[in-house]
Symmetry: C2
DNA sequence: TTGTAAGCGTTATCAT
DNA sequence: ATGATAACGCTTACAA
């Protein structure tokens, strides 16, 4: 039985399309495939989505037709009919920041062999921008959301939780245990500081990150706890509030030095800060690591090539991104899963050494 | 005249939706707005798209209704009906590379206040991956494409040219003059080398980037031309083929040193390479800039905080991204425009100085 | 297992 | 200027 009959309007529109736009290769639709394979549109849709069993013969015919005609399903029609977009919204805070980029890259990798594509947006660390950006993403009907870095107000977060599958990366939020990926910043900072203590240092300075950031605060706590645990009194004047950038490192060191504060070691809240601190010391003729040891945080790629190479805390950034993608996929497919544990690691290079004689 | 009549199927579907999914807030559609504002769907669509004049009263009523009901047009329906997606595909080569990230960031900025959203994909420097990625993007019905960094074969490029509005960033391609944004790598490299020459250096080494990259080759040419122009003979043994990364810098310097090659200055094809080179010199106890001057390329943020801060060529990366977005927008709206000229700048810091006595 | 047909929410065409 | 209505290409009851 031949199925050559085409709906009048379909024939017409196809005709018009070809007349008006003879150069544009006509878009192959499931109707075309259906005709070609001698089945109905529904059947084509079925083999496309694997929703209902289809006879092997027909399935093969459909597949062959799709291949032959180079069929690509129209995402809009699909989205409109099904309500799914196969798109994941990723909210990052800073294109160009080593750690957030690495996480983003991980997300891309984690999504690479799936039917989902990421669409990125930049929240720029600002809650209101973050909210707007989330809104845009939802307007684009993303199926799920990955929010990297704290930036959303809890009210927005609450709303998200009941609106759309969401995974948080790089910040811990109460009530989000099942969909939240983060490292133990406090423990990592403790280890880093501990490393300095073990090298004999007792006058250990710290330059924090942006005060309102969770990461920043936890690293500060870790620093404090390590000192306290070792019986070292905390000197508040040896703590400088920075902003996670190179300048903060410079300013921090200058500030300590100008006030005559002595220190033989420094723990910076991230590598960029450590670079700045190292430069400030260099300007003053203070040697690293002979006079002052430095530990950073992040292990961004440049850390291995500074002079001297920087001892720092490695964050499994890529892995976090990949894991986030996996968790979200599981969430979308309502599969059971456990959030992976993410470990940091102290990478010891040459910017730290045993404390010399004062 | 009241317009309370609702099509049977519409009422039904709305009813079913509410029955089945009482928690989900019903999606407001233009039909709802039409009813509310006492006009037809068409009119709503008209004020939405500004396609045909609409009486001020009705327009206001529609706008009010949209605001009141918190209407968000459905992107899929829109895309399906209009064939436009208001999405721009951005193909980058490397999430995490300072320069490409900065360009991407620029694209985001350039698109920020438009109706278009970017969707990113990573070509990973591989032509076949690049092609696949472009295919995916087209499958997603992006309205335009921005390809950052060379990665596509010319056959693919030819096809793109007649298929979809495309802008190339960071590589020059013949025949794409109107939609191609790039810096004058050769001139920039010439300036950088020239700077070293003016400081009295004659033994100037160069570590290239990946040999197959256009950027890399042009910087090499610029280096050669500067030397030639100054009447300095080119020593091929002072040229090392690198890969645009820190290790290349280390290996390059080691290679020169091991072969007993003398040089008092070094031009690296990018900053990462310069960092590596600087480290290798440090390891050998060779001072920068007292013994060897170094110039990098890119001016990535870390360059200002190395010891000593690195003299380097600034690329207007952000601006390139912003310009790319603008050019594409103009292309999409068929507006006239001229591709902006992008200038580089030599940022002189402390890694270069007058050649001392040998 | 398969086909029919009714949507999905817009835009675009055609009258009026 | 405005309203009906077809069309966009696909999914999904419902029937068979």
């Amino acid at each position: 039985m031949l199925r050559a009959i085409v709906k009048p309007h379909e024939a017409l529109s196809r005709l018009r399309q070809n007349l008006l736009d003879p150069l544009v290769k006509k878009n192959v639709t499931i109707s075309d495939i259906a005709t070609q394979a001698n089945v109905s549109k529904s059947t084509v849709s079925r083999v496309l989505n694997d929703t209902t069993p289809v006879h092997e013969d027909k399935r093969k015919a459909v597949l062959a037709a799709m291949k032959k005609m180079n069929f690509e399903p129209n995402v809009f029609a699909r989205g409109l009919a099904s309500g799914q977009s196969y798109t994941i919204g990723v909210v990052t805070q800073n294109f160009g920041s080593p750690i957030y980029d690495a996480i983003s890259q991980g997300v891309v990798t984690g999504l690479a062999d799936t039917t989902y594509s990421p669409i990125f947006a930049d929240g720029q660390w600002q809650p209101d921008i973050g909210e707007a950006v989330v809104q845009t993403l939802i307007g684009r009907k993303v199926d799920g959301l990955i929010v990297i870095g704290s930036s959303l107000e809890s009210s927005v977060l609450d709303r998200l939780k009941k609106t759309i599958p969401t995974v948080l990366v790089g910040w811990e939020v109460e009530g989000w245990e099942k969909q939240c990926l983060f490292i133990d910043n406090e423990q990592a900072a403790r280890n880093a500081t501990q490393h300095l203590i073990e090298l004999g240092h007792t006058q250990i300075a710290h330059i924090t990150g942006i005060a309102t950031h969770q990461d920043s605060m936890r690293r500060l706590w870790g620093y404090r706890r390590a000192l306290t645990a070792a019986g070292i009194e905390i000197d508040e004047d040896l703590i400088f509030e920075g902003r996670f950038d190179g300048n903060s490192g410079v300013l921090g060191v200058e500030s300590f030095l100008m006030r005559g504060k002595r220190f033989t070691a420094l723990f910076a809240s991230n590598d960029a800060t450590a670079f700045g601190a190292r430069l400030a010391l260099y300007r003053r003729g203070i040697r690293v690591p002979e006079d002052v040891s430095i530990v950073g945080f992040d292990n961004q790629s440049e850390a291995a090539f500074t002079t001297p190479p920087l001892t720092t805390v490695r964050q499994p950034a890529q892995e976090m991104g990949i894991a986030a993608a996996e968790v979200l996929l599981n969430l979308l497919h309502k599969k059971e899963f456990t959030v992976p544990k993410l470990e940091t690691e102290l990478v010891i290079r040459e910017s730290t050494r045993l404390r010399g004689n004062p």
